[in-house]
């Protein structure tokens, strides 16, 4: 790559980042006065949140069971398998619950959001709204962002609880530890700070998913066909998942 084209690419990246930041600012400024009706928001929460509930329960149960198997082996080597509940609970609530729930919601709902908004851009629906003096940011983007912010913390809590139950079942069935010991160990090992950390993470991840997926769709330059829609949505998922993992590291480092 020649130096000039490298500079052009870099310049384009910086311009894109600036446009995304501007988009976030514009959406946040419109948060107080929403143009959409409450029914619209409810429908979006259903689409993003309720439809992912079963997924959370299944995925959470498997992750919890996996953690129980892995931690039981590790803890047995150090002679404290009675700490299984605390180990599984802390791993889920502080780290895996928020991250995996966010990645699943990103794959299921975030990609759909990006594709939906990009195809609205492509079929000039956004321009049509603007022509009718309806602000597409306030009317379309704000309720979608709020729906993400409502849904993901609830889904994360469901994921955590499903994971604890999955781990408990494996602990009781395979390793002969009782459900009571598992839950007691989890309750004594997990403090308010751990639950708070998981909650803060899930809110931040929800904001990231909403911002990146909506922004990528809204700012998509030339959407001419189905291929462009799929490119925008793939882009959004890649960038959002990297951002989630990066933000996860930062939040873990800051809050522990």
């Amino acid at each position: 790559m020649s130096p000039t084209s490298l500079a052009t690419t870099l310049q384009r990246r910086v311009i894109n980042l600036g446009a995304m930041g501007l988009f976030l600012g514009q959406v946040l400024r419109r948060l107080p006065h929403r143009a959409a009706r409450a029914g619209t928001l409810a429908g979006l929460v259903v689409a993003i949140g309720s439809r992912s509930m079963g997924l959370m329960i299944v995925a959470g149960g498997f992750v919890g069971a996996m953690l129980a198997v892995q931690f039981f082996d590790t803890l047995s080597r150090f002679g404290s398998p009675s700490m299984l509940g605390a180990a599984v609970g802390l791993g889920l609530i502080r780290e895996l619950g928020p991250v995996l729930a966010a990645l699943i919601v990103l794959g299921r709902a975030g990609s759909a959001l990006a594709a939906e908004v990009a195809s609205m851009r492509g079929s000039q629906q956004l321009d049509a709204l603007a022509c009718m003096a309806i602000d597409p940011l306030a009317y379309l983007m704000v309720p979608r962002l709020i729906a993400c912010l409502i849904s993901l913390p609830l889904l994360t809590a469901i994921f955590d609880v499903a994971g604890l139950l999955g781990g408990m079942c494996i602990g009781a069935l395979s390793f002969g530890s009782s459900a009571g010991i598992f839950l007691d160990s989890a309750a004594s090992g997990i403090g308010p700070a751990d639950v708070r950390m998981g909650f803060v993470k899930s809110v931040v991840f929800a904001a990231l998913i909403g911002w990146i997926c909506l922004g990528k769709g809204f700012l998509a330059p030339a959407v001419r066909g189905t291929e462009d829609v799929s490119r925008v949505s793939a882009d959004a998922v890649v960038i959002a998942s990297m951002s989630i993992l990066g933000a996860d590291y930062l939040l873990s480092a800051l809050m522990s």
Binding site: G49, S50, L154, P192, D194
Partner: protein, 153 residues
Amino acid sequence: MTAGTRSSNSFALGLLMVVGLGCLAWLALRLGDWHSPFARHYELNARFASASGLREGAFVEIAGVRVGSVTSIALDPARFESVVAMRLLPGLRLPSDAIASIRTSGLIGEKYVRITPGGATDMLPPGGEILDTESSINIEELISKYIFEGGDK
């Protein structure tokens, strides 16, 4: 939107709210150990020459039963002793000659406070102080004692 999809939407939304908020509440209240501000716990202090290795949140045990936790560990600047504040179960009352000692669970486990109740008839009031204490045993100190003092003999 027809009436059927609207009501199934409402059901899905309600289900998410009920299950999600229920799970969140369970995590926060049951696992997060969120003490109700109205429950009156039995608060006691104890002075130790050294509280080395003890951490806030460490458990307090009587006769092998967990009855509370350490809420704070502070230095008394006048006497250079550590003041350990503990929060025990609401209904509990301890005799005034109870002994508090810092122990280790297992050889390399975490430190905790063990309380051995005495036989006195008068009870410690809430906020009272346990006078008889044993500090944590420092294994390194013990080992160095054996090594270096053993050489003199």
